[in-house]
């Protein structure tokens, strides 16, 4: 399969000389035709910066970027193709709508540049606006729209001219869940139907998993791990990935015995079986975590479990999140989901050995 986008060992600093502030520290990635890749990472990790570098809006220090067959940046040869020739779609985190153009004109601009006929432009723009639920707002100016409406205009603008690769910077962050779900499905369907490829920054793990074929996790200017949503979620290589990809409980555990991947722990007096993960898993106590949804609550004693009293239950709509806390100054607290509100009392919290990870 062909790579639509290839980034190789990209380095980028903000500032120069003594003030240089390295932001990207050797990022490599690729995007295949028809693929949707999510770029995840904590705030400030360089996601926007990477997108801007690919779009040609920042000049990296070293590395290469290729779009399809075309080399668009080559640090070694000092070559850099200007942004306007890269033919990408880009949705800005700040929307970057043109305040002096109407919504229609904002979206139509890319088509006008490509010299399409007026009627064709009208059709295409109306189409994409309708698809994004903006059909009636074409004549408005950006400052007359709500935040979410502005964001959708930004998406429409990037999609309308069918670029082979589109880059989206948190395109759905200002939409409500319902709209987001729809937009997500629509986006994905559109991208796949048109055979485009998309690189999408999101701060939302669930969204990343739902929309993408592959996830790149960026941490501090480096790709921490990449893979399918499932592999990222279920087999994280590092503690960072494990913690970032889901809701976790961190446990104050003491390693008692370690046999290749199997580890024996002591938590709050109880002995538990756990599995070692990651490369560094070796010496010391490491860090022990378990996903909140893997904790099974039982009113009766069960295997590989610790006993804790219930502190409180928080309503999440489709379920409750219950917090258990060790008594008498013990630094142990555990969260677990429950379908129902639990009665106060003591519970056995089962921590399945293969889900209790020691890093």
């Amino acid at each position: 399969m062909t790579n639509e986008l290839t980034v190789n060992e990209l380095h980028l600093d903000y500032g120069t000389g003594a003030h240089a502030n390295p932001i990207l520290k050797g990022v490599s990635m690729h995007l295949q035709k028809g693929e949707v890749v999510a770029l995840l990472g904590p705030s400030g990790s360089g996601k926007t910066t990477l997108l801007r570098a690919v779009a040609g809006l920042e000049s990296p220090k070293a590395g290469t970027i290729a779009i399809g067959e075309r080399n668009v940046f080559d640090g070694a040869r000092g070559f850099e193709m200007p942004a306007e020739n890269r033919n990408l779609g880009l949705v800005f985190q700040s929307y970057a709508l043109w305040p002096h153009k109407t919504v229609f004109d904002n979206v139509a601009y890319g088509l006008k540049l490509r010299k399409l006929g007026a009627s064709e432009i009208k059709d295409k723009v109306s189409d994409v606006l309708k698809n994004l639920g903006l059909g009636h707002l074409g004549e408005r100016f950006p400052h007359q729209l709500s935040g979410g409406q502005q964001q959708r205009v930004a998406i429409a603008r990037a999609l309308v001219y069918n670029p082979p690769v589109i880059l989206l910077d948190e395109p759905l962050s200002n939409l409500d869940a319902k709209l987001r779900e729809e937009a997500r499905a629509f986006l994905r369907e559109l991208i796949v139907r048109m055979g485009l490829s998309a690189l999408m920054v999101t701060h939302d793990q669930a969204e990343a998993m739902a929309i993408s074929d592959r996830i790149l996790l960026l941490n501090n200017g480096k790709i921490e791990q990449q893979g399918t949503p499932q592999s990222m979620y279920e087999t994280p290589d590092t503690l960072f990935t494990a913690e970032f990809m889901g809701s976790n409980n961190r446990l104050p555990a003491r390693v008692i015995q370690r046999e290749s991947k199997q580890v024996q722990l002591e938590i709050n007096g109880a002995r538990l079986q756990a599995s070692a993960r990651g490369a560094g898993a070796g010496s010391g106590d490491g860090t022990t975590i378990i996903r909140v949804e893997e904790v099974k609550v039982s009113a009766t004693p069960v295997d590989n479990a610790i006993e804790l009293p219930l502190l409180t239950c928080m309503y999440l709509g489709d379920r409750f999140e219950c917090l258990f806390k060790g008594e008498g100054g013990v630094e142990l607290s555990l969260r677990a989901y429950s379908k129902y509100r639990l009665e106060p009392g003591r519970y056995w919290l089962q921590l399945p050995a293969d889900k209790l990870w020691v890093f």
Binding site: P82, N85, A96, W98, L113, R114, Q150, R157
Partner: protein
């Protein structure tokens, strides 16, 4: 999938090269002549001349120069210190708040820009001089006159107050494109409108204020008419009037001395531009047109409303109504002064005489032509130069940054003279060169092109070029300010959808600064409307402008006619402005 057309090699930017070359040419050709002249001891075109530092020796030994320089410096500083904060505040009140009476204040504000300072000064003499009618009034009530319009302090204050509108134009066009969400954030945090102004609005338009500050500082060095009228009685001298003296001091005009003074002034620009660059170091701090739309609503002043109105009214009273009423009064009376009952001497004679002036209609027509059409053409050129510097922090930009102010550092009269020299001598030198080459093309050029070049001087184009170059910094900075406010992501977004450099400029950048452009046009129009000294040597019959007519009337002592003509001129422009501001020219959305 279509691939967009490939545009040249990146890095080569022809339009920019052309703009920069032309700009540097028109700026430095006249300057070069002045610079060269300052090191000679006779006019550079005379056969008997010697290189040397005589001119500098003379002016540095002349105690008058020291006095004039010091005075000019104080005048300029005082002027900037008064005009910048007041102009900024005025703009804030006018643009951002629900100040009452904005509609009628807006055109009035601009009056001091287009009224010749000489006329303005004269208006002050009639109104507030020792026997001015307000003074006599005050004397009746108080028994003495509480002010002395001829003192240096008064001159500084008047100069400062009459330059408030220049700063206002800068500040207001910057404010117009400032998103109001930042101001709202401050208000919610608990800042009163006054605090919002000082802590958020004005700091955010620092570029506009810094540019305006440097520019009015230079206007301070240039103040001539006002000092001539108000400074003469007590003998206050500034550099501009010193230069005037220099033309006569040695009997025949001494160009080398004048040039040396001009070179000293040019040197003053350098540290100022440095300061200005330092202030605007991080341009991103001033970006305010962002990609997120923000709503805006006039800020209610609440209890400050009437205080603000009173302040503005006070300013209007002192800067516009008082001197203007002096001029108006003077235009309707035969004579005036201590012991004259004005009712007895009312007359329309002056207007009759003015309307009989043969060149009057042509003067009005030319003035409007050079103001409106010439102003628009100048703004287009300024915009091109500003764009050549936009987001390109390189050597060329720095070079232009230092260059644009330089023409204004040269006093108008001398600048005009050097333009005359350019139009006279450049064609002759070219001619000489072409003759020297001696081939077909050169001969043809020498026969066809040189006469055209020579004849340029007596067309209105020459006048326009000189005006445009001298006022370059003023128009261009207004546009740069607007450019500084455009968020980079808006341009980046256009590039990302495939717009080439030119298209980004045309479709995004320029439309976004349209208020800046309109503001620049307005200001250039007003300035060209009154400008005179630069054009003195380039005027010829048929290209007279009102400014020139005023000065020549003044010279023959017809102050009454000056008043009448000013009155006509002011009314025409004010009505035009009023109409333009009401319809069509929206300076504000």
């Amino acid at each position: 999938m279509q691939i967009l057309a490939h545009s040249g090699r990146p890095g080569l930017n022809w339009p920019r090269g052309v703009v920069v070359t032309l700009a540097a040419g028109v700026i430095f050709l006249p300057l070069f002549l002045i610079f060269y002249q300052s090191f000679l001891n006779a006019p550079f075109f005379m056969p008997a001349k010697e290189l040397g530092l005589d001119a500098y020796r003379f002016i540095f030994e002349d105690p008058d120069f020291a006095v004039a320089f010091k005075n000019a410096f104080w005048l300029a500083s005082g002027l900037a210190i008064i005009a910048v904060p007041l102009g900024g505040m005025l703009a804030f009140l006018m643009i951002r708040t629900d100040l009452p009476g904005k509609g009628f204040i807006a055109p009035l504000l601009l009056v001091p820009i287009f009224v010749s300072p000489m006329v303005m000064g004269f208006g002050y003499v009639v109104a507030m001089g020792p026997v001015g009618f307000y003074s006599l009034w005050a004397k009746d009530i108080l028994g003495f006159i509480p002010w002395n319009i001829y003192s240096f302090t008064s001159i500084v204050v008047i100069a400062g107050l009459t330059h408030v509108p220049h700063v206002y134009l800068y500040a207001s066009s910057a404010l117009k494109s400032l998103g109001s969400d930042v101001e709202e954030a401050a208000r919610v945090t608990g800042a009163s409108p006054l605090q919002v102004m000082f802590n958020v609005s004005l700091p955010m338009i620092t570029p506009a204020l810094a540019y305006a500050g440097v520019l009015v500082f230079f206007l301070g060095f240039e103040v001539f008419g006002l000092v001539l009228v108000l400074g003469d009685p007590e003998g206050h001298m500034v550099l501009a009037t010193y230069l005037y003296k220099l033309t006569n001091k040695l009997g025949t005009p001494s160009y080398h001395l004048m040039a040396a003074v001009a070179v000293c002034l040019v040197m003053v620009t350098m540290p100022l531009v440095m300061v200005q660059r330092w202030l605007l170091k991080s341009s991103n701090k001033f970006v305010s047109i962002k990609g997120k739309g923000a709503r805006s609503k006039a800020m209610p002043l609440g209890r400050w409303k009437w205080l603000a109105f009173a302040l503005i009214f006070g300013w209007l009273m002192f800067t516009i109504i008082m001197p203007m009423s002096g001029i108006v009064l003077r235009s309707f009376v035969q004579y005036w002064g201590e012991g004259v009952k004005l009712a007895d001497v009312l007359t329309l004679q002056h207007f009759r005489e003015i309307l009989e002036q043969p060149a009057l209609m042509r003067g009005i027509f030319n003035t409007v032509l050079i103001g409106v059409i010439g102003g628009a053409a100048a703004v287009i050129c300024y915009c091109a130069i500003a764009l050549a510097m936009h987001r390109k922090p390189d050597m060329i930009t720095r070079f232009l940054d230092y260059s644009v102010l330089v023409p204004r550092a040269v006093p108008g009269l001398l600048a005009g003279l050097s333009f005359l020299w350019v139009f006279l001598f450049v064609p002759s030198w070219l001619d000489g060169m072409l003759k020297g080459i001696d081939n077909g093309v050169a001969l043809w050029l020498s026969e066809q092109a040189i006469p055209v070049l020579r004849s340029l001087r007596s067309t209105i184009f020459a006048l326009w070029l000189a005006y445009s170059v001298v006022w370059l910094a003023y128009g261009m900075r207004l546009i740069s300010t607007a450019l500084l406010q455009v968020g980079p992501e808006l341009e980046e977004a256009a590039r990302a959808v495939g717009a080439t450099r030119g298209k980004v400029t045309r479709d995004v950048t320029v439309p976004l600064i349209k208020y800046g452009l309109l503001g620049a046009w307005l200001m250039v129009f007003l300035i060209f409307e009154r400008e005179y000294s630069t054009g003195v040597y380039l005027l010829s019959p048929g290209t007279e402008v009102i400014g020139a007519m005023l000065v020549s009337l003044w010279a023959t002592g017809s102050t009454d006619l000056v008043a009448a003509l000013s009155f006509i001129n002011i009314s025409l422009v004010a009505i035009g402005l009023g109409v333009a501001l009401r319809f069509g020219v929206k300076l504000h959305n």
